[in-house]
Symmetry: none
Subunit: 202 residues, 4 copies
DNA sequence: CATGAATGAGTGTTCATTCAT
DNA sequence: TATGAATGAACACTCATTCAT
């Protein structure tokens, strides 16, 4: 009988190590050796669980996104319209420590999209998924009469994603300039600007 | 002093080549050799004009920023308040081809800030410069009564920079999702949301 | 003793898989993993049946030779002199598909004799065995008066082995240049050149 | 002004080192590092003169062949027919030390043809070149009436190449079995078997 | 008996950097 | 000033081998 290992757990161990290395040292220094060392493994073992380095990086990115997605679902459970959008946005924005790490990973990958066309495809799919999620709830908000009458919903979704991506970049690059409370204020100010008077939370 | 002009010219030649290589192949593939080849120079000569590779990259980033800064000055000459802000923003946003190249360079560098602490310092200084520029004009706008009474100007500046950075990221990563007209609409919608009624351009 | 039969069977299973991998992908790509996969076994189990990789390869070569030897015995049963030599040669030459596979294995190993001194010893023993086999029958042929009077039998044996090895190389490297019929013609022309007139097959 | 080097000489230096490593340690151990060390260079420099490892090996093989070809031309200058063929064959056969090295290289490459399809193409072209060379002179011999009337010249060329390749293999694998004199005797016996009586050398 | 997880040395390759010319 | 030859460290990746299960 072979040594029993939980394949998925093992992969996640490596991917979490990958996240830490990227966030600490940058994607360039996220070598197979440094990832393996961070995970407490030898460099060779990584090829048991991943095709190649590109597979590690893609998987790390996708797992990060899937964790965020799960959090969004949990956070917006039972909510609808603008409240759901707010909950979703708060999970995507780099507020807490854990989300800062996600932002660092995200921004690091952006810088390699020009090198790595495969990455570009992944990010685009993820963009569409996020767009869909926001768009659906914005339609709900419109149906519920939460929005000002002349609001262009596609433009709002676009702006919301710009906010998430801009905040992610700025939080990583200039941490003190976008503290959590400031991020929330920024979001709320924007949501208020599209909401029908008295529509939002009071 | 023609020497100095030549020297500066030579540096700029190399830096423009660096931009092209980064935008085309990504920062990872922007090697000294590829930059030299793009500039039509031998790889060795680059050490006469730059300390090391990191110096090339930093200089390329700074030159790009200084070009953008010059454009902002030109574009906002004679304007004040929200109109000046709009002009400044339009130079920072990735609208035309030239600005797309700048955005590609910018986003590529973001992904290497974690690798390269020197870059982080540069970007932060640049952030502060941009903040100052927007903040000054926003104060003008307030003084001119262009803003809604309860507007938090620091928050607006923060949001404006988030818009620039978010649009830069999204334009590089998902070009068709943020076409130039959509960018301008997004900006104008935001400016309108902070402007006193009838304050903006009609 | 069924155990031993199983063990031998298992080894032969692995060795046949080794042949197939070598013939298909080359000796360089005949890794323990690829051999195990081809045999439908796990890579670890191979160490139960073989010392190490070198043992697998040596054994594969020896088994191939022993199969050829058996075929020679069967083919030359009841024959003597030049007819026996012809029968033996036809088994050693790369005529049919099965013998082409043997030639591919053989030639692949030649290219690794310089890497692997153990192989050299094996091949030399095999050479002597083959020499002996041909030499004995050539002595018979001489005793039977089948040879021209001035024939140097050692030289003939040497030439016969050169033919086998040269044809093996050429059949592997340039298949269309040494088709089976051409090989047989070549052999027959040579045998005729050493045979007393009217001694051979009419 | 750059350091002046003779590119061709530098390449040949590396290729000669490659030959020595292959002949001494085998193709498998002919690593870029070992070749560089044998040539007295650092491993990195090799990429200045060669595309990649495959380019080194191909070039080494082709240079070896081209040297042999040159020797054949020199050795057969002024000769015609069977005498030219004999001179050509004596250059291709592994008689002297230098030719033994060539044979070791040759046989080593044979063992990697199944791994490396590019190699196969090279060897086939070389085969055709050799065939042509022998075939032309054999036609001369026929025209000069040196051959027995019923000789099949294509079959003879095939046999001559089989002799060269078989001797190369055997000389590398079983050196004492095919000493130089024995090789020459073998060749002469074969040539005599295809020559009209009294046609050859007296 | 058998598995496959794990190791670590070795490979080809790339590259910033140095330096003789 | 300028070249490009040369170095050596770092990288992703492969693999025979070991060993806990």
């Amino acid at each position: 009988m072979p040594k029993i290992v939980d394949w998925e757990e093992r992969r996640n161990l490596v991917l979490a190590a990958t996240w830490r290395v990227i966030a600490r040292d940058g994607l360039t220094r996220a070598t197979i050796r440094s990832i393996a060392a961070e995970a407490g493994l030898s460099s060779g073992i990584i090829q048991h669980y991943f095709e190649d380095k590109s597979d590690i990086l893609s998987s790390a990115l996708l797992l990060s996104h899937s964790r965020i997605g799960e959090r969004m679902v949990r956070a917006s459970a039972g909510l609808k319209g603008l409240e759901a959008i707010r909950a979703i946005m708060l999970e995507a924005m780099p507020l807490e420590e854990a989300q800062l790490l996600e932002a660092q990973i995200e921004v690091s990958f952006w810088g390699h999209v020009l090198d790595n066309p495969a990455l570009r495809g992944i990010l685009r799919t993820e963009y569409d998924t996020f767009w869909e999620r926001l768009s659906d709830e914005l339609d709900n908000a419109a149906a519920m009469g939460e929005l000002k009458p002349d609001v262009d919903t596609a433009q709002v979704v676009r702006h919301l994603i710009v906010i998430v991506d801009g905040l992610s970049a700025d939080r990583v690059l200039y941490p003190v300039k976008v503290e959590p409370e400031q991020q929330v204020e920024l979001l709320d100010a924007y949501l208020e600007s599209i909401a029908r008077d008295r529509a939002l939370r009071e």
